[in-house]
Symmetry: C2
């Protein structure tokens, strides 16, 4: 585990040494946002087979155009508000990852990691509600940010989730996470997703273990 | 909770009553697959600002074409191998959801839900490894399938995850889940993700509660 951790840190550092062209990143973030809109239509569109096939060919051509310019390594972290390192390719927070909602995380003065977001059709589990696994993914990520904000980052060792009630789709949600206890190399983080009525829909306790150096 | 469950069941049934045109679904699945490839390039492409902007405009036009044909409701479940109901728009298994890897789930004779899959760059957490939240999402979903296969479906009440070691990106992984105990309205499901070396990278215990009728 220690070796894997050290190797990951080296790759993170290499990615962070990349020059980031903010103009290009803004354009790519815009492209990712438009691909998310396209993705909803892939589920809902009533287009006929011929039209779908035509759109598919166009997508292949656009992919080829993007590929023709060459492939880099995933864009390095940028430091956001409150000193949070943001991976641009992250499946949870990454502006350039079309899978990511993406959620934006801020760290409060008391070390609480917070985010507000609305999840649409692409994140649906039961009809009209957020997939429980998506809630798990967001709380996992937010908890990691809280452990880092606490100065005790580490590998996730455990995540214990309690689902209190369904999390509604398409309405403003918030989530928060805070390190509540450090015991040797272990950091415990409590987190929750909060619905529009102010009640927690899902709660979690995460445990992070700091690797030995 | 009971009211929400009943409402979800009604929507599922409405979606299942939709006529499914298998030819169209196959075309849409192909389109979703091509959008996943495009998505990787949004993270990696070295294209310049002008080229990115041009591709973005083309994506907008394609979205408009798909929208012009009208929007339906998310395509109904199709029954897969082993009687597993497959939501075509699911963020985990949905062939039409560009977020989904997608994973295909089979139910064995002993009721074990199994899947084999490879996760690429879009699912990255630590460099070279799967995001812990993605592992959580897959185990959450697979556990739900195992509870259903056991004849005791329900709302997820809890998911207790233990991360044993990092899960590698870009190599064949497998996952399995099985209902191990039913206690009144509660069903307990054990699950794990298994790396190429045969060792579990993440394990979970999920609890599902059957709503009262």
């Amino acid at each position: 585990m220690t070796g894997a951790w050290a190797a990951m840190q080296r790759v993170f550092e290499e990615r962070e040494r990349q020059e980031i062209d903010e103009g290009r990143v803004a354009r790519l973030a815009e492209l990712a946002a438009r691909v998310r809109e396209l993705s909803e239509l892939v589920i809902l569109s009533q287009a006929d087979e011929m039209e779908i096939a035509a759109v598919t060919r166009e997508i292949e051509l656009l992919t080829a155009r993007l590929a023709a310019a060459g492939r880099g390594i995933p864009p390095s972290a940028e430091v956001g508000d409150g000193g949070v390192v943001r991976q641009l390719g992250s499946p949870v927070t990454g502006l350039l990852n079309t899978l990511a909602p993406p959620i934006e995380i801020r760290i409060g003065d008391d070390g609480t990691a917070r985010s507000e977001f609305t999840l649409g059709l692409l994140y649906e589990g039961p009809p009209g509600f957020v997939h429980g696994g998506v809630s798990a993914m967001i709380l996992d990520h937010l908890s990691g940010c809280a452990a880092s904000a606490n100065g005790t980052p580490g590998m996730t060792a455990g995540l214990d989730l309690r689902y209190r009630r369904p999390t509604p789709l398409g309405v403003p949600l918030s989530a928060e996470a805070k390190a509540v206890r450090v015991d040797g190399r272990k950091t415990f983080v409590d987190s929750r997703i909060i619905g529009p009525d102010g009640r927690a829909t899902a709660e979690a306790t995460a445990v992070f273990i700091m690797p030995t150096r």
